[in-house]
């Protein structure tokens, strides 16, 4: 075994299966359910924000989620294989054209929002529908 295989065999048991999380992509708005331990009690806190960055492979994989709290931008980095993350839900699918959405940090107000992916798709299908109608009229 080479070094990489040894390390993978060590952390293999700690990896969460792929099926634990839905397949999200950059620009999506996510609900992250975080386990919080206070003394003996454990509760779950939900953090909602836009996924602006993904990095790392295997056990080092992590995501950065940005949200606005009291008019102040907050970014949290979550290691995806941490036992503290209970669940991830997709709230809204955003349409992003790049892998890292760091430009959102400079945006203020309404321009902070990303176009919804569904609306984007609808837009595409509408234009193609119009085009086919136009073609039909030409005939």
């Amino acid at each position: 075994m080479n070094a990489t295989e040894i390390i993978e065999s060590v952390v293999g048991s700690q990896l969460k299966p792929e099926s634990d999380y839905p397949s999200f992509s950059i620009g999506d708005t996510l609900n992250i359910h975080v386990r919080i331990v206070e003394g003996d009690k454990e509760r779950i806190q939900v953090y909602q924000g836009v996924l602006i960055s993904q990095r790392g492979r295997g056990i080092n994989r992590s995501i950065t989620v940005r949200r606005i709290v009291a008019n102040e931008g907050v970014e949290r980095v979550f290691p995806l294989h941490s036992p503290r993350i209970a669940k991830i839900e997709i709230v809204r699918r955003g349409d992003a054209r790049r892998a890292k959405l760091y430009f959102l940090r400079d945006r203020v107000g309404k321009s902070r929002r990303l176009r919804d992916q569904r609306r984007g798709l609808q837009h595409v299908s509408e234009t193609s529908a119009k085009a086919s109608v136009a073609e039909a009229q030409d005939d």
């Binding site: 070094a3 040894i6 060590v10 952390v11 700690q14 331990v37 056990i59 941490s82 036992p83």
Partner: protein, 228 residues
């Protein structure tokens, strides 16, 4: 009985505890190390065992090493180190050819690890000795990273024309033996000969490391060791 082994640094990764804490760990392939020689006080003047690590092909080894390791019933090994014993009786627990593996560290909470640090080449005083350098302005020209005065009249006797011996200056940095003390043992895996310790270990991945039970612990680690 001091537990000690030779091993190879594999690399670093992370390890999650059950309560979700994230621990940086170094993975070390430790042993198996055959005992290649037993030194006894009456014969050799001191008590120690010599352990070997990393088998090599006989044609890459030398006749003296092949013969020496042959006495222990193993093929030639690349590395050999002695482990000294304070008490002469401890040596009696070991015999020639006995194989030590990572299970000697089971139940051990803290280990010391020695390795050869990465070579940094010829470095200036700011990187090598953490000197502050000179100022960015106020008349300083072309000497912003230099050491400053090396002590006009300082000798080992107090005064004189020579520079004090051992004066810290620029020079070769790294590639020297470094020991890190009292690293937490995170897990021991005798099946794959793996040892996981918390935090970094000197040297590059693939480098030889010497692992022993921690010699001295600070106060908080002593308490943790007692707590069990």
């Amino acid at each position: 009985m001091p537990a000690a082994l030779l091993g190879r640094k594999i690399g670093m990764t992370r390890y999650y505890t059950e309560d979700g804490r994230n621990i940086p760990v170094t993975v070390i392939e430790a042993g198996p190390c055959p005992v290649t020689q037993v030194k006894q006080a009456e014969r050799d003047g001191y008590s120690a065992i010599q352990i070997g690590f990393d088998p090599v092909k006989p044609r890459r080894s030398t006749m003296p090493i092949i013969g020496h390791d042959g006495k222990a019933g193993t093929g030639p090994l690349r590395h050999h180190r002695e482990v000294r014993f304070e008490d002469a009786k401890d040596v009696e627990n070991y015999e020639l050819g006995q194989s030590l593996d990572v299970s000697v560290f089971e139940g051990v909470k803290f280990v010391d690890i020695a390795g050869t640090s990465k070579g940094k080449g010829f470095q200036g005083v700011m990187k090598r000795h953490n000197f502050a350098g000179l100022e960015a302005s106020h008349g300083v020209e072309r000497k912003h990273r230099s050491a400053g005065s090396i002590g006009g009249h300082a000798t080992n006797l107090g005064t004189g024309p020579k520079v004090k011996k051992g004066k810290r200056m620029a020079g070769h940095m790294g590639d020297e033996r470094v020991t890190v003390r009292s690293l937490d043992v995170i897990s021991v895996d005798p099946e794959r000969n793996l040892l996981l310790v918390k935090g970094p270990v000197p040297g590059a991945n693939g480098g030889l490391v010497y692992i022993r039970e921690a010699k001295r612990l600070n106060r908080s680690k002593t308490q943790r060791a007692k707590a069990g």
